[in-house]
Amino acid sequence: MKEKIIQIMSEICPGVDFATETALIDDGLVDSLDIVNIVTELMDVFDVEINVEDLLPENFNSVDAIAQLIEQLQE
């Protein structure tokens, strides 16, 4: 799952090392436009519904956090 998430994110935000970064939002590496592009792609690929309430920095600061969010939503 993580490889797929990294692939999605790298396509939308080229030039960011998604495998190691842990403060994507806090450090401004990913902005709100990227977030929505990433979220719509994640919803499409993983067939989950991500709501506005889920768009919190802590859910998108790292690939691990995103993977955890998707797993939660898939349950």
Binding site: P14, V36, T40, D44
Partner: protein, 518 residues
């Protein structure tokens, strides 16, 4: 009651003394009383609208909380019940938003809308003759944000109407924001505290920094702007460009200066309000510029308009259509680009009902959307041309590019009509007449050579401080590490500068804040 009036200083000082002298349980009512006095000074009629917005949003918060509780009480399997309550909650938010923004619309735009109709219809339609209440759109954004947060179960609703009214009406934020968030602001407003001299000292310094920007720089630059920018401008392009530069300096020092006064006054009461500016001069793209300019509005738009819009069903359908028909990156970001465009259009229209603001919104929305679509192409070009995008030179190039784009937008923002803006742009490029820069024309724009020097030096000081901050420096922490004499100078020198160059200068009339009208 203007920030630049003695009454305001008196109100702030009086409220601060009473605030810290009284029993801690009565501290928040002191802030509420000061806020109501501040607002009432602008006219009792305006208070009706303040109370109306506060009452509607307070009531909506309570209704939504009851629905949240009812939803929690349902079993997880009761999907139909969950959906029913969700629909009702949405209806409550929709009605609240329509009532609140409807009032903003009627206050700001009704008479202009009526004028668009043919004369026969125009005569029949009623006119709206109430004066626009101070800070209406700012406290409306703040209150509707609260309602949506309660809808999203982000926090519990405030049951006490007086405490809620303080959140809506806290006096330093009533002129031009910043648009505060309930969970960040309300606990601070309602806290019980004893005097923290370090915070009071910092508050006074920040407010003085704001007065310096507003009264010493912005109000001088305003004279140039009012002389140069307008219908039938008689000047050559070079002087017009100087006028646009003066407008940029004025707008930034006026708005950010006002916010510094707001945040400084709040700090005197121990309250830390939201940042509204992150040194936009250092922005490296237009999107970055808007992230740094009017931050609290940008965050409001992101959380309460952009996110819900982007994830809504129509935009999801648009996204699917894009992926299917366009493919590649353009297909993937079509829906987000459309939502971005809508947000910038809304921000443009929020500034006023004038075709030029509509074009201003389209200008910003289009450029940001295009740069998103071109991002991969830009990267490829940079690699092909062996450009090191980490170098200082490239960084400066991106900043300069952003200044040019922003300055172009400033022509639209400063002119009374779009045609005037276009004519000023055309003159700037086609008839520059650079000799007007040194033949004495600049000294006939309403200010003297000394005033020009003060604007130049003042702007240089602001830039120096912001460069220090951009590199991670903390101005007030650095000052506090100095000896007592230097700290004393840090208060005395700005005070003397503001008094001599701002308050007591001949013929000085402080203009109201530009963003106060929005």
């Amino acid at each position: 009651m203007a920030f630049t009036s003695w009454e305001f200083l008196l109100l702030t000082a009086g409220a601060a003394v009473v605030y810290y002298l009284l029993h801690r349980h009565t501290q928040w009512p002191v802030l509420l009383a000061a806020s109501l006095i501040f607002y009432a000074a602008g006219g009792l009629g305006a208070m009706v609208w303040l109370f109306a917005i506060a009452a509607v949003t307070w009531g909506a918060g309570l209704v939504l909380e009851r629905m949240n509780d009812a939803r929690k009480a349902l079993s997880k399997g009761d999907k139909a019940g969950q959906q029913r309550i969700k629909r009702r909650k949405k209806a409550v938010v929709a009605v609240t938003a329509v009532l609140c923004f409807g009032l903003v619309y009627v206050m700001k735009y009704w008479n202009t809308t009526v004028a668009l109709f043919p004369a026969a219809v125009e005569r029949v339609l009623p006119r709206w003759d109430f004066l626009m209440p101070l800070g209406l759109s700012f406290f409306t954004f703040q209150s509707v944000g609260y309602v949506i947060d309660v809808y999203r179960s982000k926090y519990a609703a405030q049951r006490n109407p007086a405490k809620y009214l303080l959140f809506v009406s806290f006096f330093p934020q009533m002129v031009q924001g910043p648009i505060g968030r309930y969970d960040a602001l309300a606990p601070q407003l309602l806290a019980q505290r004893s005097v923290d001299w370090r915070m009071v000292d910092r508050g006074i310094q920040l407010a003085m920094w704001g007065y310096f920007k507003k009264m010493v720089i912005a109000d001088r630059a305003a004279v140039v702007v009012n002389t140069v920018i307008g219908e039938n401008c008689p000047y050559g392009g070079a002087v017009i460009f100087v006028g646009i530069l003066a407008y940029s300096v004025q707008l930034y020092c006026d708005f950010s200066g006002g916010i510094d006064i707001t945040r400084g006054v709040a700090q005197i009461f121990g309250i830390d309000m939201a940042e509204n500016f992150l040194r936009p001069i250092f922005a490296t793209s237009l999107a970055d510029y808007w992230r740094r300019w009017h931050v609290s509005l940008g965050h409001w738009m992101r959380d309460y308009l952009f996110y819900p819009l982007s994830l809504s069903k129509p935009f999801a359908k648009l996204g699917k259509w894009g992926r299917h028909h366009l493919g590649g990156l353009p297909g993937k970001i079509l829906a987000t680009s459309a939502a971005t465009f809508v947000v910038y259009l809304v921000i443009g229209i929020w500034h006023g009902v004038n075709f030029r603001y509509f074009v201003y919104g389209i200008w910003n929305g289009s450029l940001i959307t295009i740069s998103m679509l071109m991002e991969h192409r830009f990267l490829a070009w940079k690699q092909a041309l062996h450009i090191n995008d980490k170098s200082r030179g490239y960084h400066f190039f991106t900043m300069a590019r952003t200044w040019l784009i922003v300055l172009f937008g400033r022509y639209i923002g400063s002119s009374p009509r779009l045609l005037v803006a276009l004519s000023l742009m055309a003159t700037t490029i086609l008839h520059p007449v650079p000799s007007q820069l040194w033949d004495g024309t600049l000294l006939n724009l309403g200010i003297t050579g000394t005033d020009w020097a003060i604007i130049g030096l003042g702007t240089a000081v602001v830039l120096a401080v912001e460069t220090f901050q951009e590199r991670g420096g903390k101005v007030r922490e650095t000052l506090e590490r100095q000896n007592g004499f230097v700290q004393w100078l840090a208060i005395a020198v700005p005070l003397i500068v503001i008094l001599l160059l701002g308050v007591f200068r001949a013929g000085y009339i402080s203009s109201s804040f530009i963003y106060g009208q929005y």
